[in-house]
């Protein structure tokens, strides 16, 4: 996607959210951005982060290059492999296929949020216990896909796990461990929620 928008033809086609400091546009109400860098604010892991990016920059590249949030990886760069998975307003998304400028005013959760404030989300140790990683390059994407999946399916069957994690690819071949890890994490989360009195939707 970073190749999109080269030259003048792409100028003014992106409609940004109202909070963005848009360039003025003589055409009227539609705000236009780029091709030069524009300031944006992203809500990442509960904090507002400000930077300046060209409108054609993906959320993935902004996270990695501007905020040093490198847990999300760039692998296929075309919405196929899931290594760049983040949650946007709770929904599992490939951050390589979202423009950073379009991700404003949304809650973005990256893998780094799972170990924030000295706490560790149960999915992380579940992946370790089941050796659901080898080289580890696809792993953060899998963990975030698992988080999004378990948020919606707190009590999954083995077959549902296989369907639910179908949007991520691994080259070392860690799927056997991932299946077990997601089931173990589900169990741990249910136990934790029972203890704290939280009920799952």
């Amino acid at each position: 996607m970073q190749g999109v928008g080269v030259g003048s033809a792409a100028t003014g086609l992106l409609v940004g959210p109202e909070s963005a400091e848009a360039q003025s546009n003589s055409q009227g109400n539609v705000a236009a951005f780029g091709p030069a860098a524009v300031p944006i604010t992203l809500q990442v892991n509960g904090r507002p982060l400000k930077t300046s990016i060209e409108p054609r920059e993906t959320l993935l590249d902004t996270l990695r290059n501007k905020f040093d949030l490198t847990g999300a990886k760039r692998v296929c760069d075309r919405g196929t492999c899931g290594a760049c998975t983040v949650l946007i307003d709770g929904k599992v998304q490939y951050s390589c296929t979202v423009f950073a400028i379009d991700a404003q005013n949304k809650q973005i959760a990256t893998i780094e949020s799972l170990t924030a404030n000295g706490k560790m989300h149960p999915i992380v140790p579940a992946f370790v216990n089941n050796d659901a990683q080898q080289c580890g390059y696809c792993t953060p994407g899998f963990v975030m896909a698992a988080k999004g999946f378990l948020d919606r399916n707190p009590n999954p069957t083995y077959d549902q796990v296989k369907d639910g994690l179908g949007g991520n690819l691994c080259r070392c071949g860690t799927y056997v461990g991932v299946r077990k890890a997601v089931l173990e994490a589900a169990k741990a989360l249910r136990a934790a929620n029972t203890l704290s009195g939280v009920t799952n939707a």
């Binding site: 970073q2 847990g71 080289c135």
Partner: protein, 706 residues
């Protein structure tokens, strides 16, 4: 006891929490981003190249041309020019603004069409043993078959590349590499500077599988662009298309094979006419007949075919998947011809192999795990419905002897222990197993030891290739630990009132052998060291492994598949693996590696193929949407049995990465033949190829046999 236990990998938390920093994650102040202009033609000469406009674009810090006017290019995707700019977008803009005129030359990219290869086909010469022609003509039973296995690409998830920062006479180098201790020297040679000026750091790397040994042009050009920019770091990683196109492939293999023998299953002769490509320089000669090397009558003719496509690099068990597929497909077809269980045919002929008793034990175990006695049936005898179930079997072998490795262990007076090795962990668990060996030796827990790898300032580690790392690094660790511990015993002996050679380290204590009453804690013992730490060094010399490591392993895999003969879809039910790797250090990470070897080759059996287009000379599916990898749902169930056995333990530590990644494709191919009653000669076993095998050539217009 730590050795042989199921220990969680020690870098699991950093990897699973996104904290692990890979070379492609390195961000440096003022860092520039690289992009690469590649050639769109499979064979061309550069007539002119103009970078003037590109250089004027915003943010561009440097452009270097490596294929200047007059340069001849031999494959599409080859590098022409290199750009560094302040942002990746600017680097790509500049790349697109470079103007190149090419003289387009004729190309050839389809090696399966051997008859069209002309002078690009280079025969290796005939190898003849006995009289295979005579044997074939007189034999009770015989088959002749055609088998084909395509070029694959490594498709490392972290692409090839590096961050390089060349300031003054010092280079900081963060490569994604399989050889931390040597890749700096390789870069130094490319740059013409002393190796001592390059510092290599790499805590993690995102997959190599044999393709990430050299520093490559991208390492050199990143360094030169860094220097040219006054020392700003340059991040230069291949994009996905380049990663698949130019960063290494597994050679193909094609063969017409004849096998002859007796009706009791004894094989008496083998004849093969094979060909393969490893890219422009040809290459790729599978060792056939695989494992059954001592078949008495053999005739082999192999031809290397040069094509205009990205070159081969070592691919997890080089040439072995191909050899295994060719050999075990032909033997299975021979077994079907005589109506015999292929497992019994393999056992009948184990005398031709180097390790008959081991294979027989493994075959029997694998049959039990796969429920072979109940589920195996004669070829094609799979019921009336459209979904046919079948089983297939294949064997593997590999060397895996330990490579040259050095280790330094420091025991500090406060009791802390540091282990340093200039090796690398490709995801196989190297960091974990060396720590386990040290912990075992010191009678400590793995968490008591701080292990540092991935830096060329540490003692030498060989590149990780050929499954040689684990034998080397565990052995050097053991020696370093024993040397350090001997010194500690000397310091402690007076306090325990016993000679040093009568002491042992057990359960966090140093004690008189067999006498826990006469002991002091590890911490108390280390307090007697004095002010400077004990430093123990260890070196594994492959020429003298001293019983700690050896080589030569075997494995058996059985595939259980269901094939829909209306759609051609092959579904994995189950894979079973019995695998030997000598002494197993960590059963948990060892099993993971076998799972991985199998899954990688399920992809190879069912999905992966580099599709070349003769019209354009291009690699058509150089992405991850159409270059297919299996997902979590596609692999069926997998059951692994590590062949832990006293005979194997005695052989010491042996590498595992390659042996487990060899026989899956052959086993699946055989299972499909068993299910549907005909051989699908061509991998991948895609619906297209399955339906063509079932219903005829007209379904595959591209097919052209030599």
């Amino acid at each position: 006891m730590v050795l042989g236990k199921r220990i969680n990998r020690l870098d699991g938390i950093p990897k699973s929490s996104g904290k692990a920093k890979y070379p492609s994650d390195v961000n440096r102040p003022g860092m520039l981003f690289g992009s690469i202009l590649t050639c769109p033609h499979a064979h061309a000469k550069v007539k002119s190249i103009d970078t003037t406009e590109a250089a004027k674009l915003p943010g561009v810090a440097g452009i270097r041309v490596t294929s200047p006017a007059g340069a001849e290019i031999q494959w599409a995707g080859a590098e022409v020019a290199w750009i560094a700019a302040d942002t990746e977008q600017h680097a790509i803009d500049a790349m697109r603004a470079i103007r190149v005129e090419y003289e387009v030359l004729p190309h050839f990219v389809k090696e399966e069409r051997r008859a069209e290869a002309g002078p690009r086909a280079r025969p290796a010469g005939e190898q003849l043993t006995g009289d295979p022609d005579d044997d074939y003509s007189k034999a009770e039973a015989k088959i002749a078959g055609y088998y084909a296995i395509p070029v694959l690409t490594h498709c490392c998830l972290e692409p090839h590349g590096a961050v390089v920062e060349w300031k003054g006479d010092k280079i900081e180098y963060w490569p994604s590499s399989q050889g931390v201790s040597v890749v700096g020297g390789d870069l130094a040679q490319q740059l013409g500077i002393p190796a001592s000026q390059i510092h290599v750091s790499m805590d993690y790397m995102g997959g190599g599988f044999g393709s990430k040994f050299p520093s490559d042009l991208w390492g050199r050009e990143a360094a030169q662009l860094s220097k040219g920019s006054g020392g700003r770091a340059v991040k230069m990683f291949l994009d996905r298309a380049s990663e698949l196109t130019i960063a290494g492939v597994r050679p193909s293999a094609y063969a017409n094979i004849k096998v002859a023998g007796k009706k009791d299953g004894t094989i008496t002769s083998w004849q093969s006419e094979s060909w393969a490509t490893g890219g422009f320089t040809g290459g790729g000669m599978p060792p056939i007949p695989y494992i059954f090397t001592n078949i008495p009558n053999k005739k082999l003719n192999h031809t290397a075919v040069s094509v205009n496509a990205g070159g081969a690099r070592a691919w997890r068990a080089p040439n072995h998947q191909q050899a295994c597929f060719l050999t075990f497909s032909a033997i299975e077809d021979f077994a079907a011809e005589i109506g015999m269980d292929p497992a019994e045919v393999l056992i009948k002929n184990l005398g031709y192999t180097a390790r008959a008793p081991l294979y027989e034990r493994q075959i029997r175990k694998a049959q039990e795990m796969a429920n072979w006695k109940q589920l195996w049936h004669k070829r094609g005898d799979s019921g009336r419905g459209p979904v046919k179930r079948g089983l297939g079997i294949a064997l593997s072998t590999w060397g895996g002897g330990g490579n040259l490795a050095e280790c330094r262990i420091k025991i500090h007076p406060d009791g802390s222990v540091e282990l340093e090795q200039g090796t690398q962990d490709l995801g196989v668990g190297t960091r974990t197993v060396v720590t386990m060996v040290a912990a075992e030796t010191f009678g400590l827990k793995v968490t008591d030891i701080t292990t540092k790898i991935g830096d060329n300032a540490y003692p030498f580690g060989s590149p990780s290739g050929g499954s040689t790392t684990v034998g080397g690094v565990t052995s050097s660790t053991r020696k370093a630990a024993v040397n350090a511990l001997d010194e500690l015993f000397q310091k402690v002996a007076p306090a325990l009132d016993a000679p040093a050679d009568q002491l042992e380290a057990v359960g966090g204590k140093i004690q008189v052998k067999g006498n826990p009453a006469k002991s002091i804690t590890w911490k108390q013992a280390c307090a007697k060291i004095g002010t400077s730490p004990i430093v123990g060094n260890g070196r594994h010399d492959p020429k003298n492994p001293m019983g700690l490591a050896s080589q030569g392993v075997g494995g058996v895999q059985i595939a259980d598949v269901s094939v829909d003969i209306e759609t051609g879809v092959v579904k994995m039910n189950k894979m079973v693996a019995v695998q030997d790797c000598g002494l197993v250090v960590n059963e948990k990470t060892a099993e993971s590696q076998v799972f991985g070897g199998i899954i990688m080759n399920i992809c190879g059996a069912l999905m992966e193929e580099r599709v070349m287009d003769q019209m354009t000379g291009r690699f058509l599916n150089a992405d991850m949407e159409f270059y297919k990898l299996a997902g979590i749902k596609d692999i069926g169930e997998i059951e692994v049995h590590m062949d832990v056995h006293p005979d194997n333990d005695k052989r010491g530590v042996i590498g595992l990465g390659e042996p487990c990644a060899i026989s899956t494709i052959a086993a699946i191919g055989n299972a499909v033949a068993n299910a549907i009653g005909v051989r699908v000669p061509r991998v991948p076993l895609s619906p297209d190829h399955v339906l063509t095998a079932l219903y005829g050539e007209k379904m595959d217009q591209n097919r052209s046999r030599a």
